[in-house]
Symmetry: C2
Subunit: 370 residues, 2 copies
């Protein structure tokens, strides 16, 4: 059976070794490196699909855990699948639910069979196994499904990390066996917490299982950022997805080390609280300092918010708790990350990614990082 999702490496930056590629999927091609905005509940928060197209989003991520609980995968399947349900006719990736279940902490119990937990919505008893995660994701029908993995807390001891890793590998095999949908690819997930040797063992084990792509898991749960950079030991001909990571500096460091895909809810989450990405670092447009500032959120930004509205206006909307305020900051933050990734791809193509990275950091105030 030919794989529905394939990765093509187009160019390697002569200056940095960073990768430029294209991911072929049933719903179209995705240039890499790519940032995937998060549409947890079958919508990117505060955005419509046509706005996502306008900011040049190419693929979005949606959450299996959330959609399973509400509205339920049966409704999504009945609608004709997630693309049809949410009117997004470009690629979609669904996570496996593993990370969300892990995040419930006190509410869950994980055994070899799977994860028992209580719904954060109504406290009802729920259970997701590798097979059930596959069933849900196949019903949702994204272009890319993710294996159901075991996350471990940070910090955690070596024994815990090792056990979680081994179980993740066993679950990956069960996912692979149970996954049959021919127009959907299944990616494996590397675990091993922050232990270099475990990460390498996990990467090698999963590489041997020959997934069409790999998630790099467990590195966004509060550990020191530098830890992640030594942990990429995956086959060169497969896409590598650094899960849950999506700040400007992480883009630069991840791409430098060969990451092809990123996702993060930060852009839209902080937007609704009135915090924006800029080339200089964090801008809290909600602050009183901007009450009389009639310049855009970021000079030079090509997004709808920056082309039409002032910081003073956006601040007013946020203070007045107007939905339009969070809409404008969401558009800006998403476009910021997508545009930055467009620039990164161009820099790789032109063999000047190290220059780009250096120039970015020269402007960027890391004390106003995220």
């Amino acid at each position: 059976m030919s794989n529905p999702v394939t990765f093509e490496l187009l160019h390697t930056c002569k200056q940095s070794g960073a990768r430029l590629g294209v991911l072929h999927t049933p719903h179209g091609d995705i240039p890499t490196p790519i940032y995937m905005p998060v549409g947890t509940q079958a919508t990117v928060k505060a955005m419509t699909p046509r706005e996502m197209e306008e900011i040049n989003a190419k693929i979005i991520l949606s959450n299996t855990y959330h959609l399973h609980l509400r509205p339920g995968e049966d409704i999504v399947r009945e609608a004709g699948g997630l693309h049809q349900f949410m009117d997004w006719h470009h690629p979609i990736l669904t996570d496996s639910g593993g990370f969300q279940v892990f995040s419930l902490s006190e509410l869950r119990k994980i055994t070899e069979e799977g994860a028992a937990f209580r719904s954060h919505l109504d406290g009802s008893k729920q259970f997701i196994s590798p097979e059930i995660s596959m069933d849900i994701q196949q019903a949702l029908g994204a272009d890319i499904a993710m294996a159901f993995d075991v996350c471990s807390a940070y910090p955690c001891d070596r024994k815990t990390a090792e056990e979680a890793m081994h179980r993740t590998h066993r679950w990956a095999a069960r996912c692979k066996k149970h996954h049959t949908r021919s127009d959907q690819a299944l990616f494996g997930i590397v675990q091993g917490a922050f232990f270099d040797d475990l990460r390498i063992e996990s990467a090698k084990t999963l590489a041997d299982m020959d997934f069409p792509g790999y998630g790099i898991g467990g590195l966004s749960v509060g550990e020191p950022k530098p830890v992640m950079y030594d942990m990429l030991h995956l086959p060169k001909n497969k896409p590598r997805y650094l899960m849950g990571v999506g700040t400007p500096d992480c883009f630069l460091e991840g791409v430098l080390r060969g990451v092809d895909m990123f996702d993060c809810v930060l852009a839209t989450r902080i937007a609704r609280n009135g915090t924006c990405f800029t080339r200089n670092g964090r801008l809290v447009v909600r602050n009183a300092a901007y009450a009389h500032d009639f310049t855009p959120i970021e000079e030079g930004c090509d997004c709808y918010a920056c082309q039409h509205f002032s910081r003073a206006y956006v601040r007013h909307l946020l203070k007045a708790e107007e939905i339009t305020g969070g809409r404008l900051t969401s558009i800006h933050n998403l476009r910021f990350l997508i545009r930055m990734m467009e620039e990164i791809r161009q820099a790789i193509l032109e063999d000047r990614f190290l220059d780009y990275r250096k120039e970015f950091y020269e402007k960027y105030d890391l004390t106003r990082n995220f």
Copy 2:
């Protein structure tokens, strides 16, 4: 001084006597009868200006009371006026603040000089007189300003209504005297509660003062709807604006009696709670009945929500408290009212407004009215 806003009567429906006209304003012409969506705090809730253009909105209303308290008219003036501040380059009407102050009930004290009240935001002491209302509205810079009037509660006794009316007349004179902005028209407001003879006296008094247009006030505060229909005794060559009224049946009855302008927050307010206008009456798309309904909110509607999304999806978004849900229902409800008014204008032009009204009521379930 020539008036910046003039009304041109284009046609009177031979079947019904309903009026078709055009209102010329500094920011463009408005066809009448017209529905004005409400942008209380310098934004129509959940909407952007380009979406307002897309649904064919021609004029919006914004609220003097709210903008005075937040962000304050100084910031709006500094931005270059309300059009510039909110990026709406079409006509705007601002109300006077009278109705909002009245609605504060226990928080206000009205004397001949003006209205003292406490801010609903921070409890701070505030005072608006006819002159202050004019100053604020001139700073905001809408195309049409409204006189600062005295509303009375419903029901109220004749003495109260009469006193409020006479004070409204005295305040209208003070507003007219204080209003000097040459690119802004000032409309008078008829009061008199539900007493026919007072309404007539008020209309005549204000007609004698020769305002370029007239608001019909105090008829949306919970009184039986039929009461309003006998109260239109205003000059035929001036626009008549039935303030705060905007349901499908009120459009039909108001237009039949010569109303040219309407506004109401209902469309966007109920939208965010998951209730939609349809040709059959109220549709609570949030209801469980629509969980598996993959038809649009309203078949045949040309709005973005109905062209792209199902009731099942919109319901999911509303239940999941996603901003996108309230956005889609807001787009639909506003477009519904604007489209209905487009049809009304066409029916008047073709001398068949009574037929249109009859056909509308035949489909429309008044037990599912608003």
